[in-house]
Assembly symmetry: C2
Homo-oligomer: 473 residues x 2
């Protein structure tokens, strides 16, 4: 059982029932692809967030942009909410049907529309997952680097402006989405961007949609940048005497401009969790997982420089993973850290922070977050895309014990306020969803959030596109 939606988020979230006429129209058009079965609805009404809400009233499995447009046109006609659904891996309640409505399941839109290896671009349907994409383009010698922990859909990753372990080198979805096909709130289909690498042609609708969490339109196709698989890849792990030492090593790597491809922190708890879950034998100490991409000579040079920096900060036990198998094992363990962490405490859910700060402030922010959680007796673990200044502290809470949730929220609040004071952000990559609305106001200011509301009202006057997320209207 999850925690209920916090009371202060609920004031304007009256249920908006799906009229019988709309349901009949959906069933007439989609047949068995429109489901009202409770199990299906419940599966589409939750995600990895610790929040509960009633499920949507119906789920429609769309297979094309035209399908999506048809559902949205009905939703527009009846002023009913629609919520796009990829794989359900949101951590912030993005998929919760807080006002009821219809879930638009995009998982069957899982085709690679076109790949242009000679241009380093690909166009995918929104339901394609990141691993599927990389499997299907392997023969081209190219890859798509953005890798959130889950095997998320590219649609969901675009909607939350996701990143992951490679962002320090390759950027986030913000930098890597070139264009979109979007069904707007009126059910019209528009195209944004082009396949050119850059553009100054009018408002940047692509980046307005990327990170809009389904509140401005449903993205159905996505054109992405790809990258040549590096000639050489080398991964390394290094244990440190403290979180501080590991983060200070990272800071120096970034400040020196070393083009490191991945630079991930795991605290002792996280290392313990992946050791257990993945049957590894990593030293249970704060640790950096790093990866270097480039020519053989460049990778060797980067690695040597980084090893020297790490040694200066007390790093020890530098271990290399140069074979693809070793590397895959290491990064698979890192990607499963979230699920590994959940196993540290039976039946727990996590409250996860997602702050991202200017790199010089990272050591103090991570260390204080860790110390405060320890002092509060709160089970937790820390993983971080520290090369970006982004880290997650996951508090493991028993959903049956209200005080644990309260303590986690209090600690979370402290981490966020500190990040904002350091001119950072409350969300590096997970999005605002239901959970961080108040933080967004603190961070951006009431004026900027009002401007976001103005955009929302202009593009979605009936408030049918994933309502209740990012801000209360």
């Amino acid at each position: 059982m999850n925690a209920p939606l916090p009371a202060h988020l609920l004031p304007r979230l009256e249920p908006r029932p799906v009229p019988a006429a709309m349901l009949e129209a959906l069933q007439a058009q989609f047949g068995a692809r429109c489901s009202t079965a409770l199990a299906v609805r419940e599966q589409h009404g939750r995600d990895e967030s610790p929040i509960d809400a009633p499920p949507p009233e119906a789920v429609v499995y769309c297979e094309s942009t035209e399908d999506v447009a048809a559902v949205v046109k009905l939703a527009d006609r009846y002023a009913v909410p629609v919520i796009p659904f990829g794989v359900g891996s949101s951590l912030e309640g993005h998929l919760l049907a807080v006002q009821g409505g219809v879930s638009i399941d995009l998982s069957r839109m899982n085709k690679i529309v076109a790949v242009q290896p000679e241009d380093l671009t690909v166009t995918v349907q929104a339901g394609v997952t990141r691993m599927q994409l990389n499997n299907e383009i392997r023969h081209t010698g190219l890859f798509f680097p953005i890798d959130p922990g889950a095997d998320a859909s590219l649609g969901g990753m675009s909607a939350t402006r996701a990143s992951g372990t490679n962002a320090v080198r390759y950027g986030t979805m913000r930098e890597n989405v070139l264009g979109l096909t979007v069904v707007t709130a009126s059910g019209e289909t528009i195209h944004t961007g082009t396949r050119a690498r850059k553009s100054s042609a009018g408002y940047d609708l692509t980046r307005l949609m990327v990170g809009s969490e389904g509140t401005l339109g449903v993205m159905t196709e996505i054109t992405l940048r790809l990258y040549p698989l590096p000639e050489a890849i080398s991964a390394a792990i290094c244990a440190f005497p403290s979180i501080d030492a590991a983060v200070r090593t990272t800071i120096q790597i970034i400040q020196m401009g070393i083009p490191i491809a991945r630079c991930e922190l795991l605290d002792t708890h996280a290392v313990r969790a992946v050791n257990r879950y993945d049957k590894l034998t990593l030293t249970e100490a704060p640790m950096l997982l790093m990866e270097f991409h480039g020519s053989s000579a460049s990778v060797a040079e980067q690695a040597a420089t980084v090893q020297q920096i790490a040694t200066e900060f007390g790093g020890s036990g530098f271990q290399w993973a140069t074979t693809p198998e070793e590397r895959t094992k290491l990064w698979a363990a890192r990607h499963r850290a979230y699920f590994a962490g959940l196993q540290l405490k039976a039946g727990c859910r996590t409250v996860t922070t997602d702050t991202c700060v200017p790199i010089s402030r990272l050591a103090e922010c991570v260390t204080q977050a860790s110390d405060e959680a320890t002092a509060a007796g709160m089970m937790h673990y820390i993983v971080g895309h520290v090369g970006d200044g982004n880290f997650h502290i996951a508090y493991l809470v028993d959903p049956a014990i209200a005080s644990e949730r309260e303590t986690a929220e209090r600690l979370n609040n402290q981490v966020v306020q500190r990040a904002i004071a350091a001119q950072g952000t409350c969300s590096g990559e997970h999005g605002i969803g239901l959970h961080k609305m108040d933080f967004l106001v603190t961070e951006a200011g009431a004026g900027a959030v009002d401007l976001m509301r103005t955009l929302k009202r202009a593009l979605d006057p009936k408030n049918i596109m994933n309502p209740g997320k990012i801000f209360a209207l």
Copy 2:
């Protein structure tokens, strides 16, 4: 004398006079900083575009965000247009007062607000120019890479989503603006973004403003990413037997993922122009100017690989410029290519294309553009940020001869239509302004442009922010 504004752009552009009461209020508040002198107004009513329009009715020299907010509040009250002005280097008519109004001169907002070398960030006032910024931060060992031809203001560069010669490695203003202070159409001041490298916190207002050409708000302060000066830099020039050979070399460099920092094409005409203007002795043939950044070993390796590729395509006379003086001379010549080109024909103005295409289509697009101009007997030169797929063909027209302008526009149209057919864009870095509105509709589609209009109306209901640009309302 410039060409008049094309008639088809004019239908909704009725003049909107500045009421006497507003002018009095401006003069009372700003004294001598509010000018109605014709020479001042004329200087603020033109740019590098070949279009003429009447000048603004007044110019206000703002020295702070509060000054800008005060002007905009008056403009809001009297429903009068305001046009932000940096250095006047727009090529697309962005600064033209097509409906009259007040020019907001930001050139006195030329302070570095804060530089944080340890975070690789800087905050500047909008009137700071790119060269000034790099001069003032030189002591930090960091630099800001975006370099349009002119010594443009960072405000203007943000407004047009500018790029330049380094974008192939470092991205454009889209990737390098982290946050903004913006005066909105109601005269409110908001802040967008943070100093964190990435964020998923709400709508991406920063990137909505970047490239909005002054039509959604006036950017007054800008937080930018900086980069460590590379340990080693090496520049090279190489002549080719044809434009096609030079571009195919570029395509292969990009497809191989070589992290080249600059990769610029000059056609024979452009080389001749810079030879004359800068008293250089470059071989008058299609030429690539390249630069490599990194460690000494990495630069040497990149350069060797590129030299090998160039040789395969018939490149010859590879010349290295390794001393800072030689490099500066070379790149200064490249940056002056626009002004050098103007000297090829006495009294001429240019009509300049700015298409950007997927890299595999670049060779055919550049070659056909060149061939068509030659066949039409139109004097021209080509420069290109070819690593990005972006090139400019500048047609040199005598503004007194209508047929030259018509021929240039016809050729321009062919170049753009070809780029759009190749899934590229009509504008890689100059913006839409007055000149490319029709192309924007062709490229983005009426639906996407309508969505832009909806955003504009929502954020600027009185249409006072640089009206008449990007699209007709």
